[in-house]
């Protein structure tokens, strides 16, 4: 017979102990980006082999093709997102102290977004130069 009182303590409820009741979105996002990276990652290896040894000017010219430009943008953004999700889990696993944990989480988030914007600007500049 189900008890008509809660088995949770008041302190436990106040501290938010127990199941987080959320995390499915994170799980799915990690898998979706992983699947995308199955393709993008292999493409990146091929792309880097293609431009290795070229002069900077030749590399910039290589990026002017739409496939190269869009491919590299997608690769960078999806990689930054996938790595952010992974780092989030690692930090939550190993860092217990709330101040450190939350600072690191915020830091990695800002780093990922910042580098994403940087990469976008860099690729637009390279890909669109000499329009």
């Amino acid at each position: 017979m189900k008890p008509h009182f809660s088995l949770r303590t008041a302190l436990g409820r106040a501290k938010g102990l127990g199941s987080a009741k959320q995390g499915t979105a994170h799980f799915i996002q990690q898998r979706v980006t992983a699947i995308a990276l199955l393709i993008l990652g292999l493409w990146l290896i091929w792309a880097l082999l293609s431009v290795g040894g070229l002069t900077p000017l030749e590399i910039k010219a290589w990026f002017r093709s739409p496939v190269a430009l869009v491919g590299m943008m997608l690769t960078v953004f999806v990689t930054l997102f996938h790595s952010y999700l992974g780092l989030q889990v690692v930090i939550e696993d190993y860092v217990a102290a709330p101040l450190w944990k939350n600072t690191l989480l915020l830091g990695v988030k800002f780093l990922s977004v910042g580098l994403g914007v940087l990469a976008f600007c860099a690729l637009i500049k390279v890909g669109m130069s000499g329009l």
């Binding site: 898998r31 082999l49 990469a119 390279v126």
Partner: protein, 130 residues
């Protein structure tokens, strides 16, 4: 009432390393290393766009022996994380949890990593020499 530091039961000191546990932590470690690689990729692209001199400096570093070793490590980390990632995706579909299957798929991941990393770097050396 303060709690004193209670002793923990030993794990790393006593548990024998196995294909399951070693590959699991390796997936995490390669992931971390690849995250770093991703950041360097962004820096490399940014130098290409905004600082040609810096770009040449970074590119020539990767041309050195040390640079090649780092790139080789990233290649291996990538293929390991890739293959073990596929193994994870099968688990997510509910497949391959049996002990025998897990062991076989695990060793396959290790073998594939070696094969693919070697293949890429053979191509590198054929194309550009040492």
């Amino acid at each position: 009432m303060s709690s004193f530091q209670r002793p923990l039961s030993p794990h790393l000191q006593v548990y024998k390393p196995q294909i399951s546990s070693v590959l699991s932590i390796l997936h995490r470690l390669t992931g971390l290393f690849l995250a770093l690689g991703g950041y360097v990729l962004v820096i490399w692209l940014s130098l290409l766009a905004f600082d040609t001199e810096g770009f040449v400096t970074l590119s020539s570093f990767f041309g050195t022996l040390g640079g090649h070793l780092i790139l080789g490590a990233w290649t291996a980390a990538f293929f390991y994380h890739f293959c073990n990632g596929v193994r994870h995706l099968f688990w997510d579909m509910g497949l391959g949890y049996g002990l025998a299957t897990m062991t076989k798929s695990g060793w396959s991941v290790v073998a594939l990593t070696v094969i693919l990393t070697t293949a890429v770097w053979v191509c590198v050396f054929i194309r550009w020499g040492f």
